[in-house]
Amino acid sequence: MVIFTCEDSLEGILCGVYDAWMSRLGHANVRLELQERGNLRMFSEYRQTAKEDWKTEKVIDTIRRKAGQEVYEQVFHASLSREEEKADRIYRFLICALHLGPAVTDMLQIPAVYELFRMNRNVTREAMHLIEFIRFSQLREGALFGVVGPENDVILLMAPHFADRLNAENWIIYDEKRNKAVVHPAGGECALVRLPDEKWRERLTESGDQEEFERLWKTFHTHIAIRERTNRACQMTHLPLRFRPYMTEFQ
């Protein structure tokens, strides 16, 4: 068994796919793993994949040409997943996809396709949830700042929604777990940046008029519930606890 290790990003995984495929060792004899994850295996050879743009472009081009845009999007979503096995799952899926063409996304009875479908669904659902549950606070300069702590790396998927909706606002969506942020200047394009330091926390505490609206929102949230119908279990199903530390009304 030869194991190809790759970087944890779409580009890295696709370079891994390229190297593993082009090694001509046979699909059954290769495996893809993310770098610096988990234990090493005995009796296998490890090869490090070099991340190079031409490999990524080549793979993306092949996927688009042979399997279509939808398959490419699914692979992109899956590459944002938190699962450690994702690199190999994407590889197994691409074997099917390049063989069967665009219709592959419907063939859920094939295990490799189902695994990718599942990862894709998990990522998309979380992105959808966070689009609903993210709360912005207003900084003193008027910019909006939202913090999330997602399981999957989804801030990239959230950005287009807010770029459209809050196009005239300055806003930042910050992923606390990965120290990444999407920054959107009013009327401009989004950019993905790294925000390693804790400076933003200080900025958040010295915010402007936000307290008034946070208080009003909490008032509304309490008063809109009908006491006779109280149903915490139902609330829990729709709004799992892990989102709540980031939400104004539960703070």
């Binding site: 549950f133 709360r135 009003l216 008063h223 109280t230 149903n231 709004l239």
Partner: protein, 448 residues
């Protein structure tokens, strides 16, 4: 009681949110609209829920009344004239400010604006219209707006408001005209149905236009909805469902909402509900409503004059399937989409996935499970490649007993929330069904 003028915004919000919460419609769905440069907001066709309240209901829109002052005296309503509750009224500016600031912070998906009747329907509708106008044109709000059409208001006002709102609704409140006469003497059915018809005509007329105006605003693009109170009057489920079906068919409604009656007023004409609001009944009506809209069922198939209420223990679809065992089991490989949809445990999504997947190969039960089919219900009604998952007697009593195992527990959870039960040796956890009128009669005459 007079409206208090010198009230803080927070207090007003508390009073007017409290007054609005018994209206259940809180969806933000039905229209897809991209953001506009320089404006705030967009809408998503499927709708977004931004939070969930302690009662498990979604909070999607800022649901408020313009004022809770009302000239009517409807017995079920907390804001009725004869109630001694604090009265408040927003100003248009306050509503605009709240909506814009909440929306920017991603608290809400838009505004739900309703109102008690202040002075007259025309006057109230005009206030609502002016508020919306301000919000759309002065503040540049491009998000979702759900607005109530006030029955009895001038048609021109309703027409104009319809171009500013995304969804409009007129509440039917009670399914029959008699019910309305007893509990809401100042409303009558005709006055409620008139604006509903007007909105429907407006939407349809727009659909007929050959060249739609690209720049202009569309009239009620997300359609209209209504609401019925469940359990305030003695109507049975069959009547409720027939009315809902008629509304979907004849008035082109997008949604009919059901609201379990909460006894907020102490009134001799209102039923006493010792067990709390009829939540299970509401739940069954919603299940049936989905069957009407997405599964191709008719009200007459689910219920009838002879069986006018839903089964407490079984959901409407299982109940229907058990009455039509001659149609089952269904073969997954060959059954058409509409037949698959009628199988308990198969939903719209899983049926679509099955139809797409079987083109390229055979499906087995584990595959169905992965596609989202609920096997614990579906096993009794499906075959894969001519075989059932395990041998099942196609016998109504047998399958009912099997299905009840899980269903009974769920019914118990819905009916008795947060209550703990004393354990007893003689108690097998069965809910005994409520005796019907016929049972009582036969008990009296000794015909048991």
């Amino acid at each position: 009681m007079l409206i208090q003028q010198d009230m803080e915004l927070g207090e007003k919000l508390a009073i007017l949110a409290d007054a609005a919460k018994y209206d259940v419609a809180c969806t933000s769905s039905g229209v897809e609209r991209k953001g506009k440069p320089g404006q705030l907001g967009s809408t998503v066709a499927a709708g977004l829920c931004h939070s969930f309240a302690a009662d498990g209901r979604c909070i999607s829109l800022l649901k408020i009344l313009y004022t809770n002052q009302c000239v009517y005296d409807c017995r079920y309503c907390i804001n009725r004239r004869s109630n001694d509750v604090p009265r408040a009224a927003f100003t248009a500016d306050e509503i605009c400010r709240l909506t814009m600031e909440f929306y920017r912070r991603n608290y809400i998906e838009g505004l739900f604006l309703s109102s008690g009747i202040l002075h007259s329907p025309d006057y109230t509708m005009d206030l609502l219209y002016q508020t919306l106008w301000k919000l759309r044109f002065e503040c540049g709000f491009n998000g979702y707006i759900h607005m109530k059409a006030i029955p009895g208001a001038d048609p021109e006002l309703i027409r104009r408001a319809g171009f500013l709102a995304d969804r409009m609704s007129v509440n039917l409140e009670l399914p029959t005209a008699e019910g309305l006469r007893t509990l809401a003497p100042s409303k009558d059915r005709k006055r409620i149905l008139t604006p509903m018809r007007q909105i429907q005509r407006g939407i349809e007329a727009q659909r007929q236009e050959l060249v739609p105006y690209r720049q202009g605003r569309r009239f009620v693009p997300a359609g209209q909805s209504t609401q019925m109170i469940v359990g305030a009057t003695p109507e049975n489920d069959y009547q409720m469902l027939t009315v809902a079906e008629a509304l979907y068919r004849n008035y082109g409604l997008k949604r009919v909402f059901y609201s379990a009656f909460v006894r907020v007023n102490d009134d001799s004409l209102l039923p006493a509900l010792p067990g709390g609001p009829p939540l299970l009944r509401e739940h069954r009506l919603y299940q049936a409503d989905w069957l009407l809209r997405f599964y191709g069922f008719g009200a007459g198939e689910l219920l009838s004059e002879r069986q006018p209420n839903f089964n407490i223990f079984l959901d409407p679809k299982c109940d229907w399937a058990l009455r039509h065992l001659e149609l089952f089991p269904v073969e997954v490989q060959t059954a058409d989409y509409n037949t698959l949809l009628r199988v308990p445990g198969v939903g719209v999504r899983s049926a679509k996935r099955i139809v797409a997947a079987r083109r390229s190969g055979r499906l087995d039960f584990p595959d169905l499970k992965r596609m989202g089919v609920v096997l614990k219900r579906a096993v009794y009604f499906l075959t894969c490649g001519g075989r059932m998952m395990y041998p099942v007697r196609m016998d109504r009593d047998f399958i009912t007993a099997q299905l009840l195992g899980e269903e009974k527990r769920r019914v118990w959870d819905i009916g008795r929330q947060d209550s703990f039960r004393q354990m007893s040796m003689f108690d097998d956890g069965m809910l005994s069904p409520v005796p019907s009128g016929e049972d009582r009669r036969s008990a009296v005459w000794g015909e048991l």
